[in-house]
Symmetry: C2
Subunit: 204 residues, 2 copies
């Protein structure tokens, strides 16, 4: 019998690397994966649903959560506040469920400090040209916003070595296979396994 | 562009855990994986081919290889000598090819010491009962041989924590998926990646 605590998978990427699509698709492939919905003060984009894509809150509500120590990580990104509620995260892990978190590099660093056994995955577009193209295809952002995201992307990309894994998102199917493999492989890591084999009389 | 040296994957298991089948099937799935054919002094089993399953040699020839320092690891298992030629292994790794090695726990420990970045995978049958059943189904071994293999299996199983990954072989398809995931995931590990992104102007 193999018993384990859930594993926390943290996915970060510069805007336009395809992180949101990857995280959505991996949840379809691996329905047991719990997904932590981030809290944010940024306004919803067209099509985004409260409680599904994000929990959208006003700034005073976010600050209150922060003051009550309810957030496992938080960050300011492009002038908006983002955070993760600790309680829902830790409840899922304690029940043995894996949790997927889609957050920026600041939040990832905080989670690494708080949960040293978290698995950090960085998603990269094949090049800045690809990244810029994907940002433009999104069409929801103005030119100034696109330029701001590109500057920030370069800053974030420089941090890839702090992550455990790197996925270069050339092709959605290949990138998804890699993300799935990382999750499956981490389950097989002996460091994460608390093994009891009574009929093998193994003393651990 | 991502450049890398090949990675050495070392698979160990007690007799009867299904290691040989797994290693054969994974090579069918991943034909780029180089497979290092071990040298052994044990006689071929029915159906085994020289140079494919093993390189079968006489004891003096094995001793000569050992004296010339040609073996990256070697061990005595059930009274027979087994070894891996260092040259073919290191040539493949230098060319960027991954290498799969199917060896016992003694050899794996030697390879870990010689190649600290090797990935060690341990395969386990679900229980000793399953293991015994698989050994009997093989039919090529006499009862004394089966008992000897079971004793040794228990000794080997106690060593699983020295490995990076553990696969419990309940189901061939599932075990194969896990082995493939481990290989794919290790390719994404930042510690193995030497990344150059000139158009991202990243300084590493």
């Amino acid at each position: 019998m193999i018993k384990r605590r859930g594993t926390l998978f943290v996915v970060s990427a510069p805007s336009g690397a395809g992180k949101t699509t990857l995280c959505r698709e991996i949840r379809l492939r691996m329905p047991d994966l719990a997904y932590s919905v981030s809290v944010t003060t940024r306004p919803p984009r067209p099509g985004e649903m409260d409680g599904v894509d994000f929990r959208f809150v006003a700034v005073p509500e976010f600050r209150a959560m922060l003051d009550r120590g309810e957030l496992a990580e938080w960050a300011t990104v492009h002038g908006n506040l983002y955070g993760t509620r600790a309680r829902s995260l830790e409840d899922a892990l304690a029940l043995g469920r894996d949790v997927l978190l889609d957050i920026d590099t600041q939040g990832a660093a905080q989670l690494r400090a708080r949960y040293p056994d978290a698995v950090l995955v960085f998603i990269l577009a094949p090049s800045v040209k690809d990244l810029e193209q994907r940002l433009r295809e999104r069409r929801s952002d103005a030119e100034g916003e696109i330029q701001r995201r590109l500057v920030r992307a370069r800053e974030e990309i420089a941090l890839w070595r702090r992550y455990d894994y790197l996925i270069v998102n050339r092709d959605l199917k290949e990138a998804l296979d890699q993300l799935e493999s990382i999750i499956v492989a981490e389950h097989c890591r002996t460091a994460r396994i608390n093994l009891t084999l009574p009929d093998l009389e193994v003393q651990n």
